[in-house]
């Protein structure tokens, strides 16, 4: 989808010690907006599960806005590029 861009979804504090459960929760959040687990799996890029809870996924602006309104989601922001020094 040309209109999809990578967004980073911050879900704040980790709600579970088991990383697998944290990853599952990320897929559930994404699936609730994209409509299916399959769509969530295709869109998901990374799960952040050690330092904080969150994920990076390919989302349209509308989807990003919807996710930002879900409970437990702190912020949804776009990916950016950095340079070497």
């Amino acid at each position: 989808d040309a209109a999809s861009n990578v967004h980073i979804v911050n879900m704040g504090q980790r709600q579970h010690d088991d990383p697998a459960v944290v990853v599952d929760s990320h897929h559930n959040v994404l699936a609730s907006v994209l409509g299916s687990k399959k769509a969530a799996a295709e869109s998901m890029i990374y799960s952040y599960k050690h330092g904080f809870s969150g994920f990076a996924a390919r989302l349209t602006e509308a989807q990003a806005e919807m996710i930002a309104k879900l409970p437990g989601v702190v912020r949804v922001i776009p990916n950016r590029l950095h340079k070497l020094h």
Partner: protein, 655 residues
Amino acid sequence: TTRSWDYLSQSLNSPGNLVNDGNMGEGIIIGILDTGIWPESESFKDEGLGPIPSRWKGVCETGERFNSSNCNRKLIGARWFIKGFQAELGRPFNTTENVDFMSPRDALGHGTHTSSTAAGSLVRNASYKGLALGIARGGAPRARLAMYKVCWNIGGGQCASADMLKAFDEAINDGVDVLSVSIGGSVPFFSDVDERDGIATGAFHAVAKGITVVCAAGNSGPFGQTVENTAPWILTVAASTVDRGYPTSIMLGNNRTILGQALFAGNKEIGFTGLVYPETEGLDTLEAGACESLSLNGTNAGGKVVLCFTTVARRIAVVRAASVVKEAGGVGVIVAKNPTSSVAPCDDFPCIQVDYEIGTQILNYIRYTRSPVVKLSPSRTLVGKPIATKVAFFSSRGPSSIAPFVLKPDVAAPGVNILAASSPFDPFMDNGFAFHTGTSMACPHVTGIVALLKSVHPDWSPAAIKSALVTTASKDPIMAEGPRKLADPFDYGGGIVNPNKAADPGLIYDMGMTDYIQYLCSMGYNDSSISALAQQPTKCPSEPPSMLDLNLPSITIPNLRNSVTVSRTVTNVGPIYSIYKALVQAPMGVEVILRPSVLAFNSATKKFTFSVTFVTTHKVQGEYYFGSLSWSDGIRVVTSPISVQTEIIPSYVDN
């Protein structure tokens, strides 16, 4: 690194220095976020290293031309992250168009360079075509390396925040002790709680787990307010020179010999040959002789040496001039420019830098001589006392544009003309090694030192390590390039890093999560952003705490009106029974009152809180003035840089 570690008093054959006391970093794991690694480099051989630390949970990911056997007891982990970058690119990354590998293997050479600078094994007789000959090694040559490849070979190396966050996340879990990040953004910067920054937020989580994160300050100097990676939990490194130069003889036909700077490793000198300056007539007489737009139309440059002038600080002017002269059949170029210490090779073609004064003298010789000639000799390596240390022209300067209350950069370290391992695809590589320049090169010097400090003081927090480095750094007499002036804290923070003194700082200004949350509250970030970052429910007080009271090892007051009092707490990490007396160097026009001025530590008193009151006498909107506060027990000197700017009209900008 064939000079930088000796310059920092870390010679392996000198007992009693940090590299020996820290057992060369044995047992410490350094994570590097960069362009990958060339594992076959001699710098990553694992001879003499013991088993991999049992706490290590990382992996050696496979991929294009990289398999698990590429890891060893030196390179104990390697991962690669490209999904975020590829998504930004909007198409698959074409590794034929831009040579790279879908694996942790490094094409650009940057990650190999930084890794070998931080923790490379010893490689004897390393040089660039005979220049800078010596032992190349990392600061912590027995430390282990883990590469997290997050940057890809497009436009000089680009890295996506989603990938960097993932790398931080994995590195935290893998068990690294130190992270080295020679990456940054550009003005305007994202806030400390914005994941787009990728580094500030990733670093926060790492620091929360006791991992020190060392970052490059950026290469946007010498302009003020350009320093990057400014979060107070990050250790931000500026770039300085070492005491090494590459004098290159220019002998004019009138027998005058001038020593310029170059990395010209030719075996033979270029005997007396014609010397020209492309001067034109017409409206713009100077354009033809400007290195960046050098035009040799109408100038017979064949077999000759060409002189040009440039006001462009960046290397592109030299590269362009060398290319144009070479194409015209010339045999060398002399570039007159604002003096900077950074030089780079021009593919075995002599491109010699001189300053404007010398350039003008050569030009006058050309203008007033019937047949000007010149003889060029290969560069030599000169080390030691005659060469002064300078903060590099390009090194980004403070104050921080995000939080001017937090002094940045923190320290400076060697980052100019550093010879270290590189990738065979690096066009500047010779026999495995290449010169590179940047705050990218300064950053892993400090990373290596942090590894050594961790080895000696495993219980020190990232803030304690930073405090030790800032308060013991060497200050004077050090100049800053562009334009030349005495360096100040916005150039080099506490000063040039001094590893041996940092190992025994006496007192430290420690900080923890509570302090960082205090900072975030002071910055006015909302509770939910702070809670998300801090991984704990946070409610800032209705009256935000003063940013000035953050327990930093420096004091920066960007808006002093009349007077203000700040407080700090020091922790004694030296002998239990110690008495420290204060010495204050007040910034010009500012009165400094310290209470108390003597600190007596004993077995029951390990910490002291003191206050410093600043009273300005300036009656006009001021520039920054600098001073220092030192505590000394007669042996150790714990110095905090002070920077103060008087503010008469709030939020008024005229500089």
